[in-house]
Symmetry: C2
Subunit: 305 residues, 2 copies
């Protein structure tokens, strides 16, 4: 037998996870949960992969904006295009999380979902993370890959519930996380079925459908899953509603929060990361019943080899 | 070995299904489809269960409207309340499919999803179908229960994609069809997370989110599944876009259409059922490559014992 969760140190977080999974899978115990109800939801940016200095999808939008400005130089004078072209982080942060993502979504309007995902896949394998200097599929957190697999081995169905674009995440979630497209929930734009020459495509429109953050996360869990999760994992105040909604269901539940406190192996940040701060959820984690996960203390290893 | 699909007669439809499943599951053959891509989508009303004289959810709304009018008699004078209270089919049909469903959704605004589903489950077991005189969980089509199970045995993931309300269908789909909530897609109202005394609930609002019919079905497949199905099954023009979107993907595909042509064992209807007519899709089925399924000829048995 290999040890469970080898990239987790033998601390409180790892022990709490193993205890929880043992309790809900013990058919003779008081906390048993039938397999179909073992729903686990994970935020993506900052929970499953690195979101510093900016969320990966924002970095992707930089390159798309550059390509668009090449085709139409007048764009370079307009905001927020200008900020994205100049990688002007101060101006970008001014837009706020939703504003930035809306722009990142808008630059792909008019493409079919399938063509968009081809472009995402090409970019993800070719581009390198500016700070970690490795391909994007390797900026995922190794302890979380192990946790996802561990939960699935114990009959859990694992979902992503993230502010990131749903079509963007689905382009790699199956290969990288083992999570199929139908278990990825995210922000979305409206799409429209278009017929051309007898062929049917779903085209991405420039209209936001849902920005999947804060109280919208539980609403999207209601819409897409239709069952309250028994485990939720996040890393910011944007995840608080999802964590507390999960904990509030009947029976045994678990909510976890990554605290990025390791400046040696990645970036230490919490309340000062304006785009997605961690403040109240950190301060009141114990009161809410949320298990803190310290990158420094709980993760023996951060990224895959 | 028991025979596959025993409630299907040994006709063209059954043979086409068995051929298709054999082809896409033959790992050495040219039409092989890996398991995660074996997505099958089914309409619900008229495809998986009886929608005559009206869709079950409309009948459910009759009873809810009656209870509301008891509490507030002034409602009885207002349309469309009046039509629902008097079961005035002509006036109800005037509302059109979307209008009727909007009303059926609106009468449950202000409830939490969980409370709503408790009510649906109670009603479904207590009430009886007005024409078939049996409990609603038994107005499902036996051949379709067998087909759902047959597909799942061959590695398919089965989904519902219906104009019916998603929370309504999820209240019984797992027990009746073996389809878990997260694989049920339907029309939906907006919901809102409400906190009360430290408890969190998703409340149904009076605002329509999506009416899942016609071109909206493929768009919702894109949003919820994120992968083009390889098999789709419907029964009305409202399913045409989903059937053709499915057939248009690469590789081998299958689309099927129930034609209700048996007035002895259930109701024969097609182009005259105003709420959800079958006209163009029937006339052009062969041209589109859609396999017709005749209730009279292809189903040896219609309802479960």
């Amino acid at each position: 037998m290999t040890q469970a969760l080898p990239s987790w140190t033998d601390g409180a977080a790892r022990r709490a996870i193993i205890d929880f999974v043992a309790a809900v899978t013990d058919a003779a115990g008081p906390d048993y949960v039938p397999t179909p109800e073992r729903i686990a939801v994970f935020d993506n940016d900052g929970t499953l992969w690195c979101e510093q200095p900016l969320q990966v999808q924002v970095l992707f939008a930089f390159d798309r904006a550059a390509a668009m400005a090449k085709a139409d130089p007048s764009l370079a004078q307009r905001q927020p295009f200008k900020a994205f072209l100049e990688h002007d982080q101060a101006a970008i942060h001014e837009l706020g999380k939703e504003g930035i993502f809306e722009f990142a979504f808008a630059v792909h309007a008019g493409m079919s979902i399938e063509a968009f995902q081809d472009e995402v896949r090409q970019w993800l394998t070719a581009a390198r993370h500016p700070k970690l200097d490795r391909p994007y599929p390797q900026v995922v957190y190794q302890p979380q890959l192990e946790l996802l697999a561990y939960l699935r081995e114990h009959g859990f169905k694992t979902f992503i519930v993230s502010g990131g674009g749903v079509d963007f995440m689905r382009a790699f979630a199956e290969q990288v996380y083992g999570i199929p497209p139908e278990q990825v929930i995210g922000s979305s734009v409206k799409t429209e079925l278009q017929e051309s020459g007898g062929h049917f495509s779903l085209m991405k429109l420039a209209k936001l459908d849902t920005f999947d953050d804060r109280a919208v996360k539980p609403a999207n869990i209601g819409l897409h899953i239709g069952r309250r999760p028994i485990l939720a994992f996040g890393n910011s105040d944007g995840d608080q509603a999802m964590l507390r909604y999960t904990l509030d269901g009947p029976g045994r539940r678990m909510a976890l929060l990554v605290h990025h406190d390791d400046n040696e192996r990645e970036t230490a940040y919490d309340r000062d990361f304006k785009l997605s701060p961690l403040t109240e959820t950190l301060d009141r984690a114990e009161e809410f019943g949320i298990q803190l996960v310290s990158v420094k203390r709980d993760w023996a290893k951060v990224f895959p080899d």
